[in-house]
Symmetry: C4
Subunit: 237 residues, 4 copies
């Protein structure tokens, strides 16, 4: 067995994040947010400048903790680690950019879930007309700029849209949703709830005018949900 | 083993309601009415001023009879009982209000099912244009007032809308559906059928004008269904 | 063991139809055509004036060959047979009417599948704009009259609409679809394909004008499909 | 055991294609692209003028490597081989035409997936407004001519539309989608992603005007995806 380049603590943290990120990819499938190999989850390794991400073009059935790819925060693969013989997700640069510029973020998710993509293809934010949306996103879900793969422009678009924003979800124009969270699980939760509200508000508006929620009530709902929902050790922390 | 504060009969009833309410949460998942930890079922304990409800922020996979929370009818958790170390659902106050003010109600369900939420976001009742809806709801499904979490206003809105109404379902404006029943299973059935009619009528109206059902026929269908459908021991009693 | 009132041949046929009709109810669930206890399949017993049908208000999980109900062609339950302690489906009179008046029919299915119900709530036939619909239904799927439960009017509406018609499916106005077939399996196939075309044509028309298929081509497709599709012993015979 | 008419190498290749094509039919079911027995996958046998295709009218549950039908490139069944007692898919002539005229094609898929059929029933191409669609199809998904079964007109329509086109998918007017690929798996991937974009763009356009993607960006995305996505041995080769 070769000597690890990481401390035992960091090795343990990597193992835990690998297991969690592998498990969370199955949630994308369960909630119908992805087809074939599209979509990806990453998780930051606590206490290290590292994150774990889906390999490119690999089917969800085949994802294991060991074939996930460990990356530095500049998006380069850590050589000699499990999964390092594979290419990381083609969205790795965007995830890396978010981790570099938003230290509070512990997880990033990208999907092509249908209703969220539909709003993104029109470049239209999702208005906040459901109390559950006020709870979770604190207002409308914003649109990010049109940006194509190849440089930092997707990552920059995500960060510029979400930094200082209540929403943990952004609809990248003509592309699809990215969500962030304090953990990878929290980012997956945001992706699941985003598609849910994208669908409900789409359906609502198809059939007639929506009733807005007064801003005061949105503010109250958001404040309450951040503080009292769930158990002491709930699924965000 | 510590002495129970309840009689053996009530203890047995609590055990039965815990098992049933745990099982019924799986039906919400099976019928696609909930995502993540949203939505909740509660059941009144027959012969006692108690009800059993989902803990807050707990995933459906993890629900067991033992981690459900036992509450008094004022919504406070019964200390020292299984699950009492957890917070009950954030909708507990609304469930409790219904149990206090509608003694005939044995179960309450809340979901964010997509089509029902869509009608709720427009504050629009679902017209009764399907015979199955006349059977089950006896007419249109009504809208309840806009009310936010924090006091009794959600519970009051449910009770004021459903008391004396044929419908076992209410669409709380900008929020989503609550359903009631003589048992928890009956309330879950109402939640399942509500989403079904919310979808069918949404789809129908998208494509052109609906044909109304004459009120006399609605009345006849509703009367018949309450009396003769199902087996002697059917799934409502 | 009590002596059967039927010959061994008829007893064997009853057993076979019970097994097949029980199995076919699971197909309604698999294809999402029913929720809760709604919907039902029946099958005629070859060589006897009998049919087997779902009991009323029983969940799909609990259906077994033995709790299906054996009925005479006037809809009365055959006493002393397995399942005879239960009420048959509340749609039994309609099934019975079809068996009495259409001797070529070996199976009947009723569902509340969402898209088919949507066309039924508008009382609008489904136009034949897909070649697969020409294959299977030979043209548009017709609408039957508004009729409510309680006498023969539903059965009569089905028979008057489908007798001499190519379509094995009818959309009963404000109610939902009934399908018929030479066997129960064939009727279930018609119910599955009906919902499929009801959805596809609904979606197509939402987004713009449909291209009609020339009548000659519909005729040619229908004629071919009735004769050459499938294996010698295919799933219709 | 009778002597095979094929070399051991070809026999081995046939076995491999049978196993793969059987497995891939389950993907059509998993992604909801087919109901009942509709839809079919075929795969070319490398190194031989042969392909393997679904038998007609056989349910997806019953498909095994051995009951798939081995055909010559003119669509005739190879006698004396496993499955040769069955009729091949009624779409066999169309698949055969594609294999004869597009030597680069290793797999063909036909489904009646709902959203793709909806575009086909209007004879309308799917505009390229999602970056994932630019990646995969390189632009809009084109419409092929109206053609009915019975001669080479479906096959000819597919080939005339897709030859020299970036798209691996064609919407045959009033019929449904056919997709091609370098392998059967690649063609199934195209069928899955086609339905995904057909749905997303349908939903997007229902709710307002779409934002087009500049042609330059479409070109860049397509070029990149063909070259760098996935692993060295990714799922297209």
């Amino acid at each position: 067995m070769s000597a690890s380049r990481f401390s035992p603590e960091v090795e343990a943290a990597i193992r835990e994040v690998r297991a969690e990120v592998a498990r969370l990819h199955a949630e994308l499938v369960r909630y119908g947010l992805v087809v074939w190999t599209g979509g990806n989850v990453s998780g930051r390794v606590p206490g290290a400048d590292l994150f774990v991400i889906k390999p490119s073009g690999v089917s969800y059935d085949e994802i294991t903790p060991e074939n996930l790819v460990l990356c530095e925060l500049d998006g380069t693969v850590v050589p000699g680690t499990p999964g390092s013989e594979r290419n990381p997700s083609s969205d790795t640069a965007a995830h890396a950019y978010v981790y570099r510029h938003m230290p509070e973020v512990g997880g990033v998710v990208h999907t092509h879930s249908s209703y969220a993509v539909a709003w993104a293809a029109r470049g239209e934010e999702i208005p906040c007309v459901i109390t559950g949306m006020a709870d979770e996103f604190g207002g409308p879900v914003p649109v990010g700029p049109f940006a194509i793969i190849g440089d930092d422009s997707i990552g920059r678009g995500i960060v510029e849209t979400l930094r200082g924003h209540r929403s943990r979800a952004v609809l990248m124009q003509n592309h699809g949703p990215f969500t962030i969270g304090v953990t990878a699980k929290d980012a997956v939760k945001a992706a699941v709830l985003l598609e849910d509200v994208a669908r409900s508000v789409h359906l609502a508006r198809e059939a007639g005018p929506l009733i807005p929620i007064p801003q005061d009530d949105i503010d109250r709902l958001y404040a309450r949900y951040q503080n009292v929902y769930g158990q002491a050790e709930d699924d965000r922390r």
